[in-house]
Structures are given as C-alpha cells and as structure tokens.
C-alpha cells in the first residue's frame, strides 16, 4: 500500500475528490479540485505548487563522485560545474534507456541524481574500484516545485538569494522561509519554475509559507494530471508513457535508446567509457529503429469523421498514454510507428501527440496518419510531424524578470 508523503497533512485536506495515484510508493494527488483544468491554467498563467517529495534521489559523494556519474550517464559529467544541473539519461549495456532525470553537482565531490526507477544497486555495481559513497536520500530529502510565470516573484519573497541571478538548470543552497534549502531552476512543466528541496521535517513549513501568499501570485496546488499536460506541451518525455525503462521490461522490442527518444543530442560518444557507450556507438553508425517526434493532428478532418457518426468532436481534455498505431497512408497499409501520449493543448489550441516513428517518415513536415477509434471502427486522422517542444515560452530560460 502506498504511503503518505511528508506533506500529506497538507495535501490530504486540499484533495477534495480524494483522487490519488501511486508515485514511487507514495500517494500523489492526481488533482486537488474535481477537475484538473484550473490547476493546468495556473501553471501557464500564475503558478502551481507540487509535492515532489516522492521523487527518487541518489547522492554520490567522494573523490571519485564525478567519475562514477560520468560512467553512468550518456552526457559528459566532467563538464558539469558546481551549481549546475544536467538533464540526462542513463542506459544499460545495450544502450537502452533505464531512466531520465536531473544530475546536480552540489559540490566538487557531491552529485545528486533524481530518478523514477531505483538505481542504488546499479550505481554500486558501477562504482567498482572508485572511491565514492552512494546513498539513497529519497526519504531524507523532501521537495516542492513551484512552476509558472509568477513562480519567481512568489519564491523571491521567501528567500534571500537573488533569483534573477539563478539561470536555467542552475541550483543553489540557500534559505527558503528560514529553512536551509536547495533551490533549482528546473521542473517538469516546460515553463519558468523552481524546485525546492529540504529536510522532510521542514517541508510542511515551506508549503505553508507558500500557501500563505498564494493569492497574491495566483498560485494553486496542482496534481499529476495538470503536470502531465504541461510536460507534454513542454515536449518532456514521461516514463511508462513515451518509453519503458530497460529495467522494467525484459523484451528488447519494448526498450528504446536515447537516439530513438530524440535525446541523441546528449549522447557523448567520445568521452571516457560509460555504460552503454559501445552499443550507442554502433547504433550511431548503423542507424536507429525509431525517431521520437511531435505530431499535430488535423482536427478539421477528425471533426468530419465524428460528424459522419452524428457526434461532435471529443477533443481529449486530459492527456492519454497509450500505443496508438501510426500509418504512412490513410488506408493503413504501411504501419510506421506509434503515438505514445497526447492531448488537446489549451495554450496552443492544437491536438498534440508525442510519437515514435520510423526515421524515414519522421522528417519535419512529414504527413502521416494516426488511428482514431470511433464506435470501434478505425479511422485515419491526418497528422503533421512538428518539432518539440510544442510550447516553449522565452521565460523558461530567460535571466531576470520578463513577462509575468
């Protein structure tokens, strides 16, 4: 049975519909209101507060900390400076993705990795011959995320650190409402936002101080459905939706490489040895099975299909995660891949889907067809390959104050 997060005393009374799901063994609110819509709009208009305590966190300390991190992630960890964070993936020996997450360098000899799949043993195995201490600090570090255009103004009122100087994917140790905290300019919404980590004993105090000034900054507590929609717009992959961890399936056909997930840009083939490097080198030479791309569905054509059944177009208001066939032709004779998650995007006014397609059909502007089942009859909805992220506001990366 899932356990309560350190913030449960605060989240439980707010979660009006008691709609929870399990996240790494803890209860996470899927939405606090009876619908996710206000929470989603808070992310894009004001800001939203998330309990991210269930996130798995692994600390790596010691003389060889950088060597271990460099040995497990596909990016060059030696280039990561103190106070910097990397978005990275780590792979198995076959170059298949185990997980993605952030890697923060908190000190010369101290890194912290966040993850969805437990990797303590795997890190220990990889540390053979290295002088490091590895610790699962998941339950020693609690956290909240404040995400959205007003997040900086709100958080600035609670900390002495000048947040306008904290760049995208940078972190700093400071105080938040008097509590020693780690603030990082990261998040899972594709928007301006911060994550704040602290001792679990202090997290309730931080949550309360944020909620106290919520009204001044249009903040709402938000759950996983609003988060899922935001991350989709932000072109951020979701484990168990857009990919399956190589640690959670035994079948090769279910696994994917960083190249196949559109993360080839982070794969460093030339750095020192790391797990999966050989396999990734040969994949790079041989070519990949898939490419992960964005699709924009033709809702006019889709509306027409529904009209033929005498029904209005039901645009998905909540993100779906599934494996939906994609074809090269409307007659569905040439199967070329799958849609893995999708939703109507309120901010873009478009129906967007993350899809994994055969490379030759995955070029920008390529026209494909995605299956839509209506009354158990398969229809082919035209879709166009577009670049991701679908939604990428300048405020996400901008330094200093801009556009609130």
């Amino acid at each position: 049975m899932a356990r309560n997060s350190p913030l449960h005393s605060r989240t439980e009374p707010l979660c009006r519909g008691s709609r929870w799901e399990e996240w790494s063994g803890f209860l996470a609110a899927t939405m606090y209101e009876l619908d996710h819509v206000h929470e989603y709009h808070a992310i894009r208009n004001g800001c939203a507060l998330f309990d991210v305590s269930p996130l798995l966190k692994f600390d790596i300390r010691g003389r060889d900390a950088v060597a271990l991190v460099d040995r497990v992630i596909v990016r060059d960890a030696t280039q990561c400076r103190v106070g910097q964070m990397l978005y990275a993936t780590w792979c198995d020996d076959d170059g298949m993705v185990i997980d993605d997450g952030t890697v923060a360098r908190l000190a010369d000899d101290h890194f912290r990795m966040t993850a969805s799949v437990p990797i303590l043993g795997w890190l220990e195995d990889g540390a053979v011959g290295l002088e490091v201490q590895i610790e699962d600090v998941s339950e020693k570090v609690a956290g909240v995320a404040v995400q959205g255009p007003t997040s900086r103004d709100l958080l600035q009122r609670l900390t002495h650190h000048d947040l306008s100087s904290l760049g995208f994917f940078r972190c700093t140790t400071t105080d938040v409402s008097g509590v020693p905290s780690l603030i990082s300019r990261t998040g899972y919404t594709g928007d301006l936002g911060y994550e704040v980590f602290m001792d679990p004993a202090d997290v309730v105090h931080v949550w309360d101080s944020i909620m106290e000034i919520a009204g001044d900054h249009q903040l709402l507590p938000a759950g996983t459905i609003a988060l899922d929609l935001a991350r989709l717009e932000g072109g951020l992959l979701l484990i168990d939706a857009d990919f399956t961890s190589a640690f959670q399936t035994t079948f090769h056909v279910k696994k994917t490489s960083p190249y196949e997930l559109g993360l080839g840009w982070m794969v460093d083939l030339d750095k020192d040895f790391y797990i999966g490097q050989q396999a990734l080198r040969s994949e790079n030479e041989r070519g990949s099975r898939w490419r992960t791309v964005g699709l924009e569905l033709d809702v006019v054509a889709m509306e027409q299909f529904y009209a033929e059944w005498g029904m209005p177009l039901p645009l998905p208001q909540r993100p779906w995660a599934d494996e939906v066939p994609v074809y090269a032709d409307a007659d569905q004779t040439r199967h070329i891949g799958r849609g893995t998650s999708g939703s109507w995007s309120p901010v873009l006014k478009k129906y967007i889907v993350i899809a994994r397609l055969e490379p030759e059909y995955a070029g920008l502007g390529s026209e494909v067809f995605i299956e839509e089942m209506i009354e158990a009859v398969s229809h082919s909805v035209p879709a166009t390959v577009v670049s991701m992220p679908f939604f990428d506001p300048p405020r996400k990366r901008a330094r200093g104050a801009m556009e609130s």
Binding site: E33, L34, H38, N45, Q317
Partner: protein, 526 residues
C-alpha cells in the same frame, strides 16, 4: 499619386480586425482605421486606474470561432484563455446555489434545492449540447436571401433543411420551442426550483431589453451554449491580460500578414461615386482610397452616418431605421484593494468563477419592470467576474479588478447634468445591491468606473449602447440580420461591405462576422 488599397476597414473592433487579417492573409492590401487610441472596439482592455487593467466592456470569451483561432493562428499571437467554469448565485435569504464543473458535485448541490431538478440537470444539459451542436453549423454559413432564391441561396437553404431535418423529433420540437418561448417558460418545463431557473435564465436576457418572461428570449440561452473553446461546449473563459488581448492577438495576426492599422483616425464619411464606394474621409480631413470599403460599425452607423441617405434605397433606409438596438446593459468596473467577502459563498475558490446576482425569477422580472419605461433597475441583475484571481497581469500583486455586467439600464437620451446624476445613481444602485451580498465591498473599492448605454454609444460608437450591435432576437437573426436581403455582408452600395456584430452570426466576441465578410469579399474563398 495616392495609394489605392484593396480594402479599407472602418473600425478596429475585433470583427474589423478579423476581416482585415483574412483579407491581408489572402494577399490584399488593407488599411484599418480606428477612431480611438486603442484597438478592439468593445473587446478592449484599458488601464483606467494606475496599475489596474479593466475589461471596460466585453469581459468573457466563449463564442470565438475555433476556425478563426486555427486559421489566424491566434494562439501564436497571444490568445490564451483560462476557464471561468463555475457559477455562484447567492439568494436574498442567505442561501445560495453553485453550478460547479463536476457532475457529482453539481448533483449534490442541486439536490439541496430539489431532487427532481438534480436528476433533470444532466439530461437538460445534454439536450442543450445536442441543440447547440445542431445549430452550430449555421454560424458558419452566409445566410441565404429568402427574397431572391438564387442558386447559392437555394443551396444553403437545402443544406440547412438537411441539417435540421436530420434532428430527431424530440430535439426538433425543443428547438422550435427555444426559438419561440420565453426563457423562463422554457426552463419551467424542466425545473421546479425558482433559483435554478433564475440563474440559468439570466443568460437569456443579456444584452436584450426583454424580461425572462418575454417570448423569444429562450434562443439567447442556446446562444450561450454554443461556445466551444477547446472543443468543449459552454466553455467560458477570460483572456490573459483582458479581453483587449484577444483584439491584440487578431491585430498581431493582421499585421503579420501585412495589414496597416491607424489609430485615432475616425472616419467621418465613406466616399461614394456613381453608386460605388471609393474610399473614406477622416474627421482630420485625410482621404484614403480603396477598391472596397468594409464597415465594422453597427448598421445604424454604417448606413445612416457614414454614407449619405441619397445613396440608399428608401425601403432599405426604413428597414435600417427599424432595427431594434435598445441598449439594456450597463457596466461597473472596480479596482479593489483586496477581495471582498460574499457572505453566502461556501468556498473562496468560487471567486474565480462567475458570480450571478439573480436571486429569483421575479427579481429579474422586476429589474426589467424598472427599466422598461426608461431608467435603470433599482435592484439590478448582475454578472460579476474577478479575473485577477487567476490572471496576475491585470492588477498589482494582492489587488484585484472586478467586472460587473449589469442588466437593466436603458438608453438615456437626456442631457447633462441630469444624465450624469442618473449615471451616479445607477452606479450607487449597483454597489448598494452587490453590498447586500458582499457587505465589505465598499471598504475595498479603490476606484469605480460606471458605464451606461449612453456612455457606450459615446465612447465606442454602439448605437443606443447595444452590446450586440442590434438585439439578438429571432426577428433580427440569420437572414434578417441586419435587414432582410442584405445578410450576405454586401450593401446597396457597390464595393461597400459590412462585417460587424450587426451581421450574421451576431454579437459576442465570435469573429464570425469578420471572417464570413472576408470570405464574401474574396469571392467565397479564404
């Protein structure tokens, strides 16, 4: 040699801008002339009090046509609408009703008032969706001319017939009732609770000098179910940064296609030569020439002010003079130091929804009685929104703006200073009445803006202050809009077109008239 534009659009309201955007998108050279210093017409947001942005007139968005959002890529140009999806309505005895978004929550809430009505609501909502879906395609047609019956008129009539003919018997019969009944009689066939009928019926009388018991008002109710932002019927919302930002998004699209926009250039006259529009003259004395002139103003301004009477057939002039404007709504906008407290409100989160002051059917009807012979309601009906509960861009942190739409206030043709005194009394009636439900309201007001129909006529040029550029009653819709025989955006003057809310599909921030007018001007293709 002076430049001759392909088209000049008179009036930078949201429909004028939409028409200009489509024309420019098709490669035409377009000039938009706006009288005021801001774009948007009634869809405008202005900083009336330092740091506080008011949705001065239009305050919610729902009916904006999805095809316009898509074709003009308005999301890219800044369209961002957050939902207003609950309604809180306090009663005079301290009770209240809430229409929440969650069906289970709604059932519980309605059950407090009537178990029968709680059962009925989902069925009623389904029926309204079905009818809205049935009527919706009409919003996208150029109305046929019933007096001409040319090939295209017959074609459209046939399509319509086919569409309506496809409805099941029940839906068709209910649709006929909707077109003819009073909103309260219609609702009374479904609901026994007075308060449910009052709160739901309020949308039937908005912008119309009719009461909830006046025949023909039921249709306006359906009009309010036709919004389909994000593919969900009845979705209401507020644009980030205010309604004016919708106009700005459309203007941004128009500019990106190469349209020119001039502010503070009030058009005094549309120049007509040999029965054909050739350009416009502004009050400053500038002249601009074009192959076509499109008026986004209401029919009265378009035909009785901008062109000389001699250019128009006499029966046409009579038909225009017969259009019912009869502004019926006022607006009070407030800058607030903090949120007021509604004593009957069970959950402060409802402040981000809509607040309806329509505590009983008789209350609404009495408010109409007060204004029927002129003047305003002593205890008016109101629809209140506080956009700053979700939008940080409209007031300083912690402060708020409140938009109060007020029904009824009749058009007051009297002279100042008595007009000013009456405006003050109207503003006081609004604040006093609202304070009965939110006692601390007066303590938190930093600034107050009061607008009557007369003010709307004199700031944004809406005849008699009618927010729809002509009432939305059945006799003024579809091929009757603005007058029979001229619903295809053309006018008796060659190369003179109309694209305002006074044309089909009518009022509200729909952009429908602007788009359809552009399609006609471009020969049927966008």
């Amino acid at each position: 040699m002076t430049k001759t534009y392909d088209a000049i659009v008179v009036g930078g309201g949201h429909n004028g801008l939409t028409c200009a955007a489509y024309l420019a998108r098709a490669g035409r050279s377009v000039l938009v002339l706006e009288a005021r210093h801001v774009l948007g017409g009634a869809a405008v947001t202005e900083e009336i009090y330092p740091g506080f942005k008011f949705n001065v007139y239009s305050y919610v968005v729902s009916l904006l046509r999805p095809e316009v959002i898509r074709e003009l890529e308005l999301a890219k140009h800044g369209l961002q609408i957050h939902p207003i999806d609950s309604v809180f309505s306090p009663m005079e005895d301290g009770n209240h009703i809430v229409f929440p978004t969650d069906p289970a929550q709604e059932r519980d809430e309605l059950k407090r008032h009537s178990a029968r009505d709680a059962e009925m609501m989902p069925r009623f909502t389904d029926l309204m969706y079905k009818m809205a879906h049935a009527v919706k395609p009409i919003l996208g047609y150029v109305p046929p001319n019933p007096s001409r019956q040319g090939w295209r008129d017959l074609q459209t009539t046939r399509q319509l017939g086919k569409h309506v003919g496809g409805l099941d018997k029940r839906t068709f019969s209910e649709l006929t009732k909707l077109m003819t009944m009073s909103v309260d009689d219609f609702l009374a066939e479904y609901f026994e609770t007075d308060l449910i009928r009052a709160t739901t019926g309020l949308s039937g009388i908005i912008g119309t000098m009719l009461g909830v018991k006046s025949p023909g008002t039921a249709y306006v109710l359906l009009h309010h179910y036709m919004g389909e932002l994000d593919g969900a019927y009845t979705a209401w919302g507020a644009q980030k940064g205010g309604t004016g930002a919708v106009s700005d998004a459309i203007a941004s699209a128009a500019l990106s296609y190469g349209a020119e926009i001039k502010l503070e250039a009030p058009v005094s006259e549309v120049m007509v030569k040999n029965g054909s529009a050739v350009g416009v003259a502004t009050e400053q004395g500038d002249e601009f020439y074009a192959k076509a002139v499109v008026s986004g103003c209401d029919p009265k301004v378009t035909f009785r002010k901008l062109v000389a009477e001699k250019e128009l057939p006499a029966d046409f002039v009579t038909a225009v003079d017969n259009i019912k404007f009869r502004g019926s709504s006022g607006k009070v906008n407030l800058a607030l130091d903090r949120l007021p407290t509604f004593t009957a409100m069970p959950d402060p989160a409802l402040m981000s929804g809509s607040i309806a002051i329509s505590p009983s059917v008789d209350y609404i009807e009495r408010a109409y009685d007060d204004a029927k012979y002129g003047g305003f309601s002593q205890r008016p009906c109101m629809e209140v929104e506080v956009p700053t509960t979700v939008d940080p861009t409209m007031a300083p942190p912690g402060k708020h703006v409140m938009s109060i739409f007020v029904q009824y206030a009749s058009y007051d043709a009297s002279e100042a200073p008595s007009r000013d005194l009456r405006r003050d009394a109207f503003g006081d009636a609004v604040i006093d009445t609202l304070s009965e439900f939110a006692p601390d309201l007066k303590d938190v007001i930093l600034h107050k803006q009061v607008l009557t129909p007369w003010d709307m006529e004199h700031t944004i040029g809406l005849t008699e202050g009618n927010i729809f550029q002509g009432e939305l009653t059945l006799d003024q819709l579809f091929f009757f809009r603005p007058v029979t025989g001229w619903a295809d955006y053309r006018t008796p003057i060659r190369n003179y077109y109309q694209c305002g809310s006074g044309t089909h599909p009518g009022g509200g921030v729909t952009a429908g008239p602007g788009r359809l007018a552009a399609r006609e001007i471009l020969g049927g293709k966008l």
